[in-house]
């Protein structure tokens, strides 16, 4: 069952929110034993909210009126970086002094208004600085399909909680691939929207010039529904767009007839593992059968530098944001995160600004060259099979850095460009671990991405459910 099916069931009286939330909490507790995706499970608060949602749903049914809120009674949880009034947000770190938020993040308020039931907070990379799901402070989050493999990050808990069926949807943030990498590694749908589509007010900053917030769920139609709730300027985030938006829930059903899918001949197709390449080709074949037209093309040469350009911006801004904490309580950071948070020291200010300056002509050139020839560009989300946790942990040797670079190789360029990108399940490798296909489009063309994702997911329904948690047991707790 996906989010849309849960909403339908609740509205038609076939489901009760208390049942969904009780099941969510039970799954959350079970998944937590081996996958460590939650930081906090709020069983009492969630059950109380579910009872209120049921009362509202039943009252509306009696009165014959539509219930308020597009997501009334549905259990969700988010990585712990979105402020909620009256609650402490940890950012999965022990660096900050606990501070009770005086307001809720815009995205949290919008979901609350839509009626969701928040069942807790989710694990993530400390301060979102990491693409693997390791967290030396809070404990590593592990892959939903096999805990010996990485969950991906930084929105590690979000992807694992959705994949395991503990929640129907979750918010992530994406500065280098932090929604799409864990979505790919755990077999769920994750959207990095166009920069500026979803306001970030009240959300933790990592690199304000690049940060976006994105929804993760089990299906493309779920993501469409979430996007309708989340998108649109809030008047507070100066970098949010107020341009008109389409009805994503209608667009997602349109199919791909006539859509041009770009297939890169260079960069994104180089160094791709055979099993991933086969999955990409299979996805293209099914899209072609569904009426899409494939267009082979070259992406601009400078794409090869974009992942690093993105890092120049992210490192410089992250070091500036963390500077005071690094000075006063640097010892509270986990060593790897402190190192990453300090890397901006090595980026001269003029070069940081030059990286930002170049973004404009590079973006224009990319859109004109690529999206004049296609509507949607396909690449792998991660060009290699999901790595093991020990391969990507501290002390893994010199191969570690190459592996980490591979994780963001196909995602980070689109952070630099600010373009929308979606990761959708595209099969599994021989070890049973998910593979994700990434689709990107011109700015604010999320509707085209959702159309492609819906068609692909219909043919490759891999987002559900979850083998690993089914064998979890109390006798087999997570290793630190």
């Amino acid at each position: 069952m996906d989010l849309c099916a849960a909403v339908d069931g609740l509205r038609q009286g076939r489901l009760r929110s208390v049942e969904l939330v009780r099941e969510a909490i039970a799954k959350a507790r079970l998944v937590q034993l081996r996958h460590h995706c939650f930081l906090h499970i709020d069983a009492e608060g969630a059950m109380a909210a579910a009872e209120m949602a049921d009362a509202l749903l039943q009252g509306c049914a009696r009165e014959g009126v539509q219930p308020p809120g597009a997501l009334l009674g549905v259990p969700v949880a988010h990585k712990d970086m979105f402020e909620r009034e009256g609650r402490v947000t940890t950012c999965a770190s022990k660096v900050r002094e606990p501070r009770v938020a005086r307001r809720s993040a815009t995205v949290v308020s919008r979901l609350d208004l839509a009626g969701v039931v928040d069942v807790g907070t989710l694990n993530m990379a400390e301060f979102a600085l990491g693409a693997t799901g390791h967290n030396a402070t809070m404990g590593d989050c592990r892959n939903a399909w096999d805990p010996e493999f990485i969950s991906g990050g930084s929105s590690s808990g979000s992807a694992v909680a959705v994949a395991s069926g503990a929640v129907f949807a979750s918010l992530g943030s994406d500065t280098g691939g932090s929604v799409r990498i864990p979505a790919s590694a755990n077999g769920v749908v994750g959207l990095k929207p166009t920069y500026g589509l979803i306001p970030r007010t009240g959300s933790m900053k990592l690199s304000p010039s690049i940060d976006v917030i994105g929804p993760m769920a089990r299906s493309a139609r779920d993501v469409a529904l979430l996007l309708e709730v989340l998108a649109g300027a809030d008047g507070l985030d100066a970098c949010s767009s107020s341009r008109p938006r389409p009805r994503y829930t209608q667009e997602v059903t349109r199919g791909v007839e006539g859509l041009r899918i770009g297939v890169p001949r260079n960069y994104f197709s180089v160094g791709v593992a055979p099993v991933i390449r086969d999955a990409m080709n299979a996805s293209l074949a099914l899209l072609e059968r569904a009426g899409a037209r494939l267009v082979s093309l070259d992406v601009p040469e400078e794409v090869a530098a974009m992942a690093e350009l993105s890092r120049a911006v992210v490192y410089a801004e992250a070091t500036a944001l963390h500077a005071q904490a690094l000075r006063s309580r640097g010892d509270r950071y986990s060593p790897q995160v402190r190192l990453r948070a300090s890397t901006g020291l090595g980026i001269p200010a003029p070069l940081y600004l030059e990286a930002l300056q170049w973004r404009l002509p590079v973006l224009r050139r990319f859109v004109e060259q690529v999206f004049s020839r296609c509507d949607v560009l396909q690449t792998p989300t991660i060009p290699i099979p999901v790595p093991r946790r020990d391969e990507t942990d501290v002390g893994a040797g010199p191969a570690l850095w190459e592996l980490l670079a591979q994780l963001v190789r196909c995602t980070a360029p689109f952070n630099y460009l600010g373009l929308p990108a979606i990761s959708v399940p595209a099969g599994r490798d021989a070890r049973g671990l998910p593979i994700g296909a990434q689709y990107t489009a011109r700015p604010f063309a999320e509707a085209a991405l959702l159309r492609v994702a819906a068609v692909q997911q219909h043919a490759v329904p891999l987002a559900l459910p979850m083998p690993a948690t089914q064998v979890a047991s109390v006798e087999n707790p997570p290793r630190k």
């Binding site: 389409p246 690093e308 000075r327 980026i347 170049w358």
Partner: protein, 83 residues
């Protein structure tokens, strides 16, 4: 192109900014992490200037056209109208 910062230069920057760097090993790691990003700025400048038919010394786009704060406006400009 550019050489990575030396650990001693990194330690100087650490001292200047007050952001502590524990030792040479940490300085080397930071310098290595930053070097690739710095190199990428050089690389994209070369590639894009050549592609645009500009000389490396062409100041005009920077002085008269590109403004980093115009990024969101450019994204909106490059979008297609919603159906």
């Amino acid at each position: 192109m550019s050489e990575p910062l030396s650990p001693s230069a990194l330690m100087e920057l650490s001292s200047l900014s007050g952001i502590p760097v524990d030792d040479t090993a940490m300085a080397e790691r930071i310098a290595a992490g930053a070097a690739a990003a710095v190199e990428a700025v050089h690389r994209v400048a070369t590639v894009c200037s050549a592609a645009a038919g500009q000389g490396d010394d062409n100041l005009d786009p920077w002085l008269f056209e590109f403004e980093p704060s115009g990024y969101l406006a450019l994204l909106e400009q490059l979008a297609e109208e919603p159906r």
